[in-house]
């Protein structure tokens, strides 16, 4: 038995890590996001070259057909380096949506362009997770009208996959009747959008009403990879705090020599390391233990969100006034973690889905 990443998965992480270490430091992130670039073409090309975009695309369609742990490794590394790139929507959610809901022709046509990264995909699922605006997409005769409120992929996305009760559709951003309005969140490393549609041409992935299971699979992949992105970002904050505790001096000593600081760091890592193991297992279950896939994905996301929140707070505090500045840049990780926490459902919602998956709660949330 061997619980952990394979050599191959570790190598993928190391390679990407090395690339990002030498090509995207905090100043680089600041420069891109300062110019409102949430999707860096240079990094996109590098991800494509390293095969990261095709991990979840089967070999027959131009990808490498590797598993969820490979994707997890990539997401974690992107979170660690707060990378402005639409990996989640394009390379995790979109290919699984097409793979699980789409027809053979759609797979043949769409999956290769995902693996190569030449056309960028975005996806909006929020309205099927927890609909806040009572939005609905009405689809008839190859046209769609309505709003989709939280597009992952933002303005860079050219092809948009939108979810509505039991159905996934594909629209092109450039088509008539499609408006993509930016939603600016606190996290400057990624952008999101509302998609407004008025008699816009659309293509249903597979059959209308036939995507319920596919949506669940896509959601699970999203949960696992958001958890991984958060894990990487939380680890980065934690490492910075450990380093700061070593070098910052007050009362003529490094602050890390105060037991209170040491114990906070000890508690944080005590929570963080098991979260990593849980995420690995959730990724494994996604591929190999389908009956556990939903509960594990939900738990992984909700749990690491809580653990990481403690890390964001404690590590910010540990830097004193410096922690509250833009100068230090710690807040880039803070904000990324905060947005990941809410994407595809915050912890309460996600735990509800974990309960549903185990038959402990009815699907529909009701007033009580």
């Amino acid at each position: 038995m061997r619980f952990g990443l394979s050599e191959d998965q570790k190598m993928l992480g190391d390679m990407l890590n090395k690339y990002l270490e030498s090509n995207l430091d905090l100043e680089g992130v600041r420069e891109l996001t300062g110019n409102d670039v949430h999707h860096s073409p240079a990094i996109w090309n590098a991800l494509a070259e390293q095969g990261a975009l095709g991990i979840l695309v089967p070999e027959e369609f131009g990808g490498s057909g590797l598993g969820m742990l490979h994707a997890e490794v990539v997401s974690e590394t992107l979170g660690r380096h707060i990378v402005p790139a639409s990996y989640l929507g394009h390379a995790v959610l979109a290919p699984l949506a097409i793979q699980h809901a789409g027809s053979e022709q759609q797979k043949e046509k769409l999956l290769p362009e995902i693996a190569s990264g030449e056309v960028i995909y975005g996806i909006a699922l929020t309205d099927v997770v927890m609909n806040r605006e009572n939005t609905q997409l009405s689809i008839s005769g190859g046209k769609v009208t309505g709003d989709s409120t939280f597009l992952i992929g933002g303005q860079a996305a050219e092809k948009l996959i939108l979810a509505t009760a039991g159905t996934l559709i594909l629209v092109e951003k450039s088509a008539p009747g499609v408006t993509v309005e930016t939603l600016t969140t606190v996290d400057k490393t990624r952008d999101f959008a509302v998609v407004r549609l008025k008699d816009a041409p659309c293509e249903i992935l597979g059959k209308e009403g036939g995507a319920t299971d596919a949506i669940e699979t896509v959601m699970n992949a999203g949960r696992i990879n958001l958890a991984a992105d958060t894990l990487g970002a939380a680890q980065a904050m934690f490492n910075q705090a450990v380093e700061y505790a070593r070098v910052r001096e007050q009362f003529d000593r490094p602050i890390g020599s105060f037991q209170s600081i040491k114990h906070i760091l000890a508690e944080l890592i005590t929570e963080l390391e098991p979260s990593r193991s849980l995420i690995w297992y959730a990724a494994h279950a996604f591929d190999e233990v389908p009956e556990e896939a939903t509960a594990m994905a939900c738990h992984a996301k909700a749990h690491v969100s809580e653990v990481a929140k403690n890390i964001t707070r404690a590590t910010t505090e540990m830097h004193g006034g410096m922690g509250f500045t833009d100068l230090l840049g710690l807040h880039f990780w803070f904000k990324r973690i905060e947005v990941n926490r809410q994407l595809l459902g915050g912890p309460e919602i996600t735990r509800h889905h974990a309960a549903v998956a185990q038959g402990w709660a009815p699907e529909k949330i009701t007033a009580a």
Binding site: R132, T149, E317, G320, G321, F324, T325, E338, Q342
Partner: protein, 409 residues
């Protein structure tokens, strides 16, 4: 327990309520936040109205521009309750009004009181607090900014940091080492510095909220008249602690958590998730109620501390916990708000989906309270050492090589 305040207080409450329902109605929610901007003309006028009615600067003697009421903590409490309940905008809250004025009243000279209190409470003089330095935050007493007497002035050189509002302040209450030969805590003086001095250079520092609340302040041969000192030379540490007491009290204001709870509860009655109101979902409602209980506990705890004050009973550890308790409470209240709002809770651009509130900004801003005015860890040290009588961690002074040795694995 004797909670009846007596009929004159019922009358007083009716009077305050009437004010809130009439004049107060015209004001907007909220008051100026630390370090944001100078009070606007509208706020200055509102401040004058409040002082005239005794709802701001209530106990400050008339001769210094206040309302001149006898200190009556119950009345102050009633005012604060009625203002929160009706959402009436309070008076200007800034470091001058909340921190320096009470300090001057306690330890200032007659001349300083005359010169500064009126102008400060009416919003004409804005103050900043020059305590922290790059190497001296939690260990504030190690500060290095130097003041040397030359004729009628202290000549001051050094650097301050995190100075909120410095970019638009008229004056600064500043800590300066004037007695280099005295022991650490006995070599500091508390001076009142005019921000017009050409030797002051201010560089804004952007915070994680994206705004430039605070600044670096470089002091180059700044001249401060020798009589602009509060207390005596070398007494600055004691005076600074007087100010700090008021600062922590201001940050811990239980009224703030009560309005926070109210705002989140209102939002939860409107916000729906797949057609169900957030307030109808037990997972969120339970969190709200837990927080409401903490907020109520702090409110009545505040009443207990006030009662100790009125009855001249001493206050121990229960007085030291308020800042730690209130600041984490505020953090938790806005965490809940963001969680209930979900993805929309992360928006940061005034979009309609934010439901007219800046939840994320409020959430991030709660760190100002947790870190400013003495960090959470420092509060815990104060609580355990001063409140519980536990011994301090020994202050062994090691040089670099000593620390290197300890670092060896």
């Amino acid at each position: 327990m004797e909670l009846e305040f007596g009929p004159e207080y019922d009358e007083f409450r009716a009077e305050v309520r009437n004010f809130c329902n009439t004049l107060g109605k015209k004001t907007q929610h909220g008051s100026i936040r630390l370090g944001e901007y100078r009070p606007t003309q509208e706020m200055v006028e509102w401040q004058a109205t409040l002082i005239e009615h005794g709802y701001a600067a209530r106990t400050i003697p008339k001769e210094y521009g206040g309302f001149g009421a006898k200190p009556d903590i119950v009345k102050s409490l009633i005012i604060s309750e009625e203002f929160v309940r009706s959402g009436t905008r309070g008076g200007i809250q800034n470091q001058g009004i909340s921190m320096l004025v009470p300090t001057l009243l306690e330890v200032g000279t007659e001349e300083q009181k005359k010169k500064y209190i009126r102008a400060t409470i009416y919003g004409d003089i804005v103050w900043c607090q020059g305590y922290s330095e790059p190497g001296s935050g939690s260990d504030l007493a190690s500060l290095k900014t130097k003041g040397v007497v030359d004729g009628d002035n202290f000549v001051v050189n050094g650097q301050k940091v995190w100075t909120s509002s410095a970019q638009f302040s008229d004056m600064c209450f500043i800590l300066v080492r004037t007695e280099p030969d005295a022991a650490k805590h006995h070599g500091i003086s508390y001076l009142l510095m005019d921000m017009e001095d050409p030797g002051i250079e201010i560089r804004p520092l952007v915070t994680m909220t994206g705004e430039a609340f605070f600044n670096e302040m470089f002091l180059n041969d700044v001249k401060i008249p020798v009589d602009s000192i509060v207390g005596k030379r070398g007494e600055g540490w004691r005076i600074a602690n007087v100010t700090l007491k008021y600062e922590r009290g201001m940050i811990a204001n239980p009224g703030a958590s009560a309005s926070g709870i109210r705002g989140v509860a209102d939002m939860m009655h409107e916000e729906t998730l797949s057609g169900v109101r957030a307030i109808d979902l037990p997972v969120y409602r339970d969190r709200l109620l837990k927080l409401q209980a903490r907020s109520l506990a702090n409110k009545y705890h505040g009443l207990r501390l006030l009662s100790n004050d009125i009855n001249k009973e001493s206050t121990g550890v229960e007085g030291l916990i308020v800042k730690l308790s209130a600041t984490y409470l505020s953090y938790d209240i806005y965490s809940l708000a963001v969680d209930v709002m979900g993805e929309f809770g992360t928006l940061y651009d005034g979009s309609v989906y934010q439901r007219k509130k800046d939840w994320m900004r409020q959430y991030i801003s709660s760190f100002m309270g947790i870190i400013g005015g003495g960090t959470a860890q420092i509060q815990k040290n104060v609580i355990s050492e001063r409140g519980l009588g536990l011994p301090r961690e020994p202050l062994v002074k090691l040089d670099k090589s000593g620390w290197e040795l300890l670092r060896k694995k």
